[in-house]
């Protein structure tokens, strides 16, 4: 039975030549191959059709398997539609399933023929077997044929009050399918969602919240009455549902509770120790808030959510852990958010894809709240076997976490990274050193010296990157760095990377008065090589010329004019344009306007130093853990996280009348309680189980085979309850 997909193609390969031989005598022999290919194709489908029409199930099954093989490879099998659709009522469950697969794939293309199958599904919807009911609903709702929308609507409504939670779960899935097929049904669907939200089965919860998010995410009022129930069910919902519910509840909580961040000074002081700088600006506002409301007490429902999600940090599913982490980040008081870091760090042991996403999120978190990840600094050390994208993310986090206390350790670690064979990563490390240098003033000089050492490195990329970073650093501290500039001027002969050359030229131009002897000579050299330079470098040569012309026109007047002439006839319009602009400004002539008087001020003005910032700085306006956060741009369907409300909306909307809920409950279940009692949840059933355990164990003894391994006792003898 296995290997049908493959045998199909193999047969195809073998059958083609045979057929070609057969065909050859009757048709023009000039194109046997093309003809053979063509005929074998139709022939095979003929033979599939025959198999499908045969009375034997095994032949039908074989045919269906081959057809599924074709679908899987992306080959077109749509012409078999009529033959396949006939088998939709087959008694054989495997044939039926494969026909379903086929229908879902091709019904959209062959709408009229697809209608033939509808009555079968309608019948199956009433089947006593819940699996058949559910799968009929699945297929019916997956056939994207607009004519059957009313039928689908009816089926969903019926299924939503089915006795089986599994069927109800499928009804929740069908809601989204119908909505994407016909958005006009929204109102009716919301009614169904409202009804299913009241469902107490853990099986349904995740799916219906998913439908809610897709159909009517703004109808927050539907959640009120179900909020506490969802919080309590959460632990027992399957993992995929947990992710969806947690994300929805995060949004919900941000609209319903007041911010826990702005008050509770005493608690937050602890958290603030690490992040003084960051929160200082909020101080004023806090004062104001405290006058407004001196004591903050967290809404018990808010607390409920935090308490019930915490155990899920232990989930094996990375998506669940991340969902809880973002919930704590967005909802918990700042002093409590720290508990998620341990679990996030744990995820770093996972696959590279998981690491990639988690590291991105940690990078965003670590900018705002360094304290959260400082204890785990070493977990972010780069391994030589990490892929480059993981390495750069780790580096990013290390840089964010750098402070006075750990900078020396970090710099030592960075030194190893600079020597990495992965040059892209080495370059990123140099950038990181630059950022540390600007952020932590105590090490600026150390870093600068280190970077200057790197200028004599053999690798060009390393040198180039160092030049660029040094340029930025010198700008932030325009002290006496003549020596470094001289050193860099010497490098100019050997460096070929355009960015680095441009940076050096800019530096020399900017500080030309500090190196009065060298600057004109550099201009001379570069004027010679002007035509062969990169555009980026040419622009800086022009700048250098202009600046020298203004400060030292005696020596450089002719040189500058020569360069300007070269620029005038350059191929790049950008350079021609710049040349014209500079000439007008610096070379006095009768046409030059009032501006040329200020040329010196324009060119040699004090320039603001560039800010060396993390690329993750502005990412925090996206909800963590979302696709939008990963891409750093709004993804379609991204739901904004609202700001905390100033005053909490009425909390009593979440109160559930016990009698009412009980009534509803029986309403959903129907009168006879045939189904398994779903109220009993796994995690809550401990007490009962403990009781039963003790009763049963009293009568029996659990004897264990004890065996000890040398040096270590593995399972100790346990004669229990004897």
């Amino acid at each position: 039975m296995s290997g049908n997909g493959l045998t199909y193609s193999e047969q195809g390969g073998e059958a083609a030549p045979e057929l070609a031989q057969e065909a050859a005598p009757t048709v023009t022999p000039s194109t046997p191959a093309a003809f053979g290919l063509f005929s074998s194709d139709t022939k095979k489908n003929e033979d599939l059709k025959q198999m499908l029409e045969s009375s034997k199930d095994s032949a039908k099954l074989d045919a269906m398997k081959r057809i599924v093989g074709m679908i899987a490879k992306g080959k077109n099998a749509s012409e078999l539609f009529p033959a396949v659709v006939k088998n939709v009522a087959s008694k054989n469950i495997e044939i039926k399933k494969l026909v379903y697969v086929y229908l879902m794939r091709y019904a959209e293309e062959q709408q009229d023929l697809a209608l033939l199958s509808i009555s079968t599904f309608q019948r199956a919807l009433k089947d006593p077997n819940q699996l058949i009911r559910a799968s009929a609903l699945r297929v019916l709702s997956s056939i994207r044929v607009p004519i059957i929308v009313p039928i689908m609507m009816l089926a969903i409504k019926e299924a939503s009050s089915d006795l089986s939670p599994y069927v109800r779960k499928n009804a929740a899935h069908a809601i989204q399918k119908l909505y994407s097929l016909d958005p006009d049904q929204k109102e009716m669907l919301i009614e169904v969602i409202e009804k299913l939200l009241k469902d107490r089965s853990t099986l349904v919860a995740g799916s219906v919240v998913m439908a809610f998010e897709e159909v009517c995410p703004d109808r927050i009022d539907l959640i009120h009455k179900n909020y506490r129930k969802l919080c309590n069910l959460l632990v027992d919902v399957e993992e995929w549902g947990q992710v969806v519910i947690i994300h929805m509840l995060t949004r919900y909580a941000r609209t319903q509770f007041v911010s826990p961040w702005k008050s509770r000074r005493f608690l937050e002081d602890n958290a603030l120790k690490h992040e003084n700088n960051f929160y200082e600006s909020d101080e004023e506002q806090k004062e104001k808030d405290q006058k407004l409301k001196t004591t903050y007490t967290m809404d018990p429902d808010h607390r409920l959510l935090l308490r019930n999600t915490k155990p899920l940090l232990q989930s094996r599913n990375a998506a669940v852990v991340m969902a809880v982490a973002q919930l704590y980040w967005h909802l918990a008081p700042k002093s409590e958010a720290g508990i998620v870091s341990k679990s996030l760090v744990r995820l770093l042991r996972s696959n590279r894809e998981v690491q990639y996403i988690v590291l991105q999120n940690i990078a965003t978190m670590s900018i705002q709240r360094k304290g959260m990840f400082e204890p785990y600094l070493k977990s972010f050390y780069v391994r030589s076997t990490d892929p480059t994208m993981i390495k750069t993310l780790k580096l990013e986090i290390l840089t964010n976490l750098a402070n006075e206390a750990n900078i020396s350790t970090l710099l030592r670690e960075f030194q190893t990274y600079v020597k990495s064979q992965d040059k892209q990563f080495a370059a990123a490390t140099i950038q990181a050193i630059g950022r540390c240098a600007t952020n932590i003033t105590e090490v600026t000089d150390t870093c600068l010296n280190g970077l200057v050492c790197l200028l004599s490195n053999r690798d060009e990329i390393v040198v180039a990157e160092s030049v660029v970073v040094i340029k930025k650093l010198l700008q932030t501290q325009p002290a006496h760095h003549g020596e470094i500039i001289k050193h860099m001027a010497k490098l100019l002969d050997n460096i070929t990377v355009p960015v680095a050359r441009a940076s050096i030229l800019w530096l020399i131009g900017e500080y030309c008065e500090r190196v009065p002897k060298i600057a004109p000579d550099v201009l001379r050299k570069t004027a010679k090589s002007f035509t062969n330079e990169d555009d980026l470098v040419k622009l800086q040569i022009l700048n250098l010329g202009a600046k020298l012309y203004l400060t030292n026109s005696k020596q450089t007047k002719l040189l500058t004019q020569y360069v300007l002439n070269l620029g005038k006839y350059d191929q790049s319009y950008d350079i021609r344009d710049r040349t014209r602009f500079i000439r007008q400004l610096i070379v006095p002539n009768e046409k030059s306007g009032a501006l040329s008087k200020y040329a010196k001020k324009i060119f040699l003005a004090q320039k603001p130093a560039p800010l060396l910032e993390s690329p993750f700085k502005d990412r925090d306006h996206f909800q963590l853990g979302t696709l939008s956060h990963t891409l750093n741009s709004r993804a379609t369907g991204y739901l904004e996280l609202s700001d905390w409300p100033e005053v909490a909306p009425d909390p009593s909307v979440r109160n559930v009348d016990v009698a009412e809920s009980a009534k509803e409950w029986t309403g959903i279940l129907g009168k006879p309680k045939k189904e398994k009692p779903t109220e009993k949840f796994y995690s809550e059933s401990e007490e009962e189980e403990d009781e039963s355990a003790s009763t049963s164990s009293s009568g029996k003894c659990l004897e264990s085979t004890a065996f000890s391994l040398p040096g270590k006792l593995c399972l100790q003898n346990c004669l229990v309850h004897k």
Binding site: G3, E108, L131, I357
Partner: protein
């Protein structure tokens, strides 16, 4: 959520496609190929790619790219985790997750994918449930099926799907009831040139193979549960019991599964059981270098260190290596520049040593950094963290199971060579 899935092999052929909503043309994968070309190697293909109308989220497993097409906002980890679960399921069903296995079983793959997702939302991902719905292929079963015409597809709803314990199926029966726990610990360390540990941590997992009839309720306790600093659980474990009593209490799934994975807090000093003496130097101008590495055991509580493998990513300038190993065998791949030395067991009397000459590309500058050495090893019957299982109790069933546990420590350490360039 997940719109479509494409499976792509290393040479860039799309060999399987599955759509859960409207069909998305294969051409969407062109964006993926583009990103793949830009990346230096497969490891660096970004997992999330944005295209004008779709988002592509992909994983790379066993030489196959699983590329999923997404249309709207979704937590990326959700998709990544799911794709890995799909790969795990293939592994579980076919014994390997390879292109040939998937192609050979394309019908089962399709049936599985159909059950795992409905309209892009996960429906059934527990292997116990799936196995009831779709039986894994075995030779015996395929023979029987071809004779009797019975099918591989279950026609009733798996009981697990409805119960509170979806991971366990009902009516499990074994003649020999057995429960095995494998404690596997991995020590992960970065060691600098001088031999001092920069960073070390122990990660462990307990993999279980439980073949018990009925609905056993197990509880596993440890002598020293405090060692476990950070734990992640299989959903079957009752969190509250762990919180209050530090006991793992659970109704296990049937078959093989990972019970917990944990990390041992780094405060506890980690003793690394092997040491490495190394002498790697490259001579200027001669286009050759010397290579001399010795591995020896440290304190390991009388256990032998086994399965030692050293891998070294040599600098690009290295052309060839002429080495002699006193033990085991070595290979050097001149394309990837990876030196692998399979040492085997370490006997303290005669320490394994690998030395010889490194040939460099003539004219190339001498590599400035010494390569880092990755060493993997295994120690049987020892949990490096000192974790000890206290007892395993079973409630709810009346038979006597055979219980066993084993310990393995895996090591991976990465000594780094620090040179003397100074920042102070």
């Amino acid at each position: 959520m997940i719109h479509s899935l494409f499976l792509i092999n290393c040479s860039g052929d799309i060999f399987l496609e599955k759509h859960w909503k409207s069909v998305v043309s294969q051409s969407v994968c062109d964006y993926f190929f583009e990103a793949q070309e830009k990346a230096i190697d497969v490891e660096n293909v970004p997992p999330v790619i944005s295209t004008p109308h779709h988002y592509l989220i992909s994983i790379y497993r066993d030489k196959i790219f699983f590329v999923s097409v997404i249309q709207t906002e979704v937590p990326p980890l959700f998709v990544i985790e799911f794709l890995h679960r799909v790969a795990d399921t293939f592994q579980d069903y076919f014994g390997e997750c390879s292109e040939t296995a998937i192609k050979d079983n394309v019908v089962i793959v399709y049936e599985l994918l159909e059950e795992m997702l409905d309209n892009g939302f996960p429906l059934a991902t527990e292997s116990n449930i799936l196995k009831e719905l779709i039986k894994p292929p075995t030779i015996l079963r395929s023979v029987v099926n071809s004779i009797t015409g019975s099918s591989n597809v279950g026609d009733t709803l798996p009981t697990g799907q409805l119960s509170n314990i979806p991971w366990r199926r009902a009516g499990v029966k074994y003649t020999n009831n057995e429960a095995y726990f494998d404690v596997i610990e991995e020590i992960d360390a970065i060691i600098d040139k001088s031999g001092s540990t920069v960073f070390a941590e122990i990660q462990g997992v307990i993999d279980s193979c439980i073949k018990l009839s009925g609905m056993p309720d197990l509880s596993l306790s440890f002598m020293n549960p405090r060692l476990l600093d950070d734990v992640s659980f299989h959903p079957c474990i009752r969190f509250k019991r762990w919180e209050s009593e530090r006991v793992l209490s659970f109704i296990p799934p049937d078959g093989n599964f990972r019970l917990i994975s944990y990390r041992v807090s780094s405060q506890n000093l980690v003793a690394i059981p092997v040491y490495v003496k190394h002498m790697i130097s490259f001579k200027e101008n001669t286009s050759s270098g010397r290579f001399d590495v010795t591995i020896g055991p440290k304190q390991n509580m009388g256990k032998t260190v086994e399965g030692v493998v050293m891998t070294v990513h040599m600098p690009k300038a290295v052309l060839n290596m002429n080495l002699t190993a006193t033990q085991g065998s070595y290979t050097f791949d001149p394309v990837t520049k990876v030196l692998t030395w399979d040492v085997g067991k370490i006997t303290p009397q005669k320490l394994p040593n690998l030395k010889g000459i490194v040939n460099l590309q003539s004219g190339a500058p001498k590599p400035e950094e010494n390569p880092s050495l990755n060493i993997q090893f295994k120690i049987q019957q020892l949990a490096i963290s000192g974790l000890k299982v206290n007892r395993l109790d079973m409630y709810g069933e009346k038979y006597k199971p055979f219980k066993g546990s084993s310990f393995v420590s895996d090591g991976e350490q990465e000594p780094k060579s620090l040179s003397s360039q100074n920042f102070t």
